[in-house]
Symmetry: C2
Subunit: 149 residues, 2 copies
DNA sequence: CTAAATAGCTAAGCGCGCTGAAGTATAAAG
DNA sequence: CTTTATACTTCAGCGCGCTTAGCTATTTAG
């Protein structure tokens, strides 16, 4: 198998994923009045458990003022909780509320729902092949370090 | 292999793809002053070769007024060409300019660049495994019909 | 104790993206 | 030919997301 043929297969697969997943993901977000940035903030908060305002801003590539304003809206929507950090009273700890967690999980489900349809059409041997490949890929992705922002 | 184990592997893989691809994709878009909607419009135009204003709006889930205004900006940026449809002079034909094509291709490359790093770490036998899986998945995805908007 | 650095909030201002309403031009239906 | 439908544009108006500048409170360094 030639390398560029391999690359183009990967490309086609990514294309398909993006097309279907992003569509459903964005549709879900919109229906709940959430922007891409909102979801990004919720994701980051979910990933790191508890984080600061500036940190979220850096993650999204915006100023801390922008992050503060956006979080204010998320707080009002009861998606995140903003409390004082007892160890450093200048800082705030942002965590997901129950509602925030629920919304995030639903967004993930929306993103992945179309894959369930795909999965159901696979035979057992096909699933074996695919899962062998996934094991390899996931291991590689996990050891990737994202370049600095 | 249990079905839910399989699903969770797919989920983890999607998670990785989204995390890495979207990050680079959005960063590229931002650097070029393009929003998600802009890219969506460019993608759609690329996919269908030539399309109408309302059609693009429907694809993005916005009114035709919104589409018209957004396309106006894309025209000014020389990313798309807007010309009268000779077969129906009410309608406009939107096509990508050279510059629009270039930008789109670069966005795709940005989206996929991290995968090249992954690919390079794969042995030949691993590539075989992965490409066998991709063949299966791509075939399934291609015969998916997206539910109506 | 004082000075500098840090975390966050607030305010003013700008452009974008969206909507609904109104308008123009063309096409299709009667 | 007249009416209705379609494709698009324009305009006014609204809220969002962003930036910069300036502010408070707290921590850290000297």
């Amino acid at each position: 198998m030639q390398d560029d043929a391999f690359a183009s297969m990967l490309g086609e697969w990514i294309e398909g994923i993006m097309h279907h997943s992003m569509r459903r993901f964005l549709r879900y977000a919109r229906a709940n009045g959430l922007s891409m940035s909102h979801l990004g903030a919720l994701f980051h908060t979910h990933r790191f458990g508890s984080c600061g305002v500036t940190e979220i801003g850096e993650h999204l590539g915006v100023s801390s003022a922008a992050a503060s304003q956006m979080l204010e809206r998320l707080v009002k929507q009861d998606l995140v909780l903003r409390s004082e950090d007892p160890d450093d009273r200048r800082a705030k700890r942002i965590v997901l509320t129950k509602k925030g967690q629920r919304i995030l999980e639903e967004a993930l489900r929306a993103r992945q729902s179309w894959l369930n349809d795909v999965t159901q059409t696979l035979s057992d041997s096909e699933k074996k092949t695919v899962s062998a490949a996934l094991k390899i890929l996931i291991a590689r992705v996990n050891q990737l370090t994202e370049p600095a922002d």
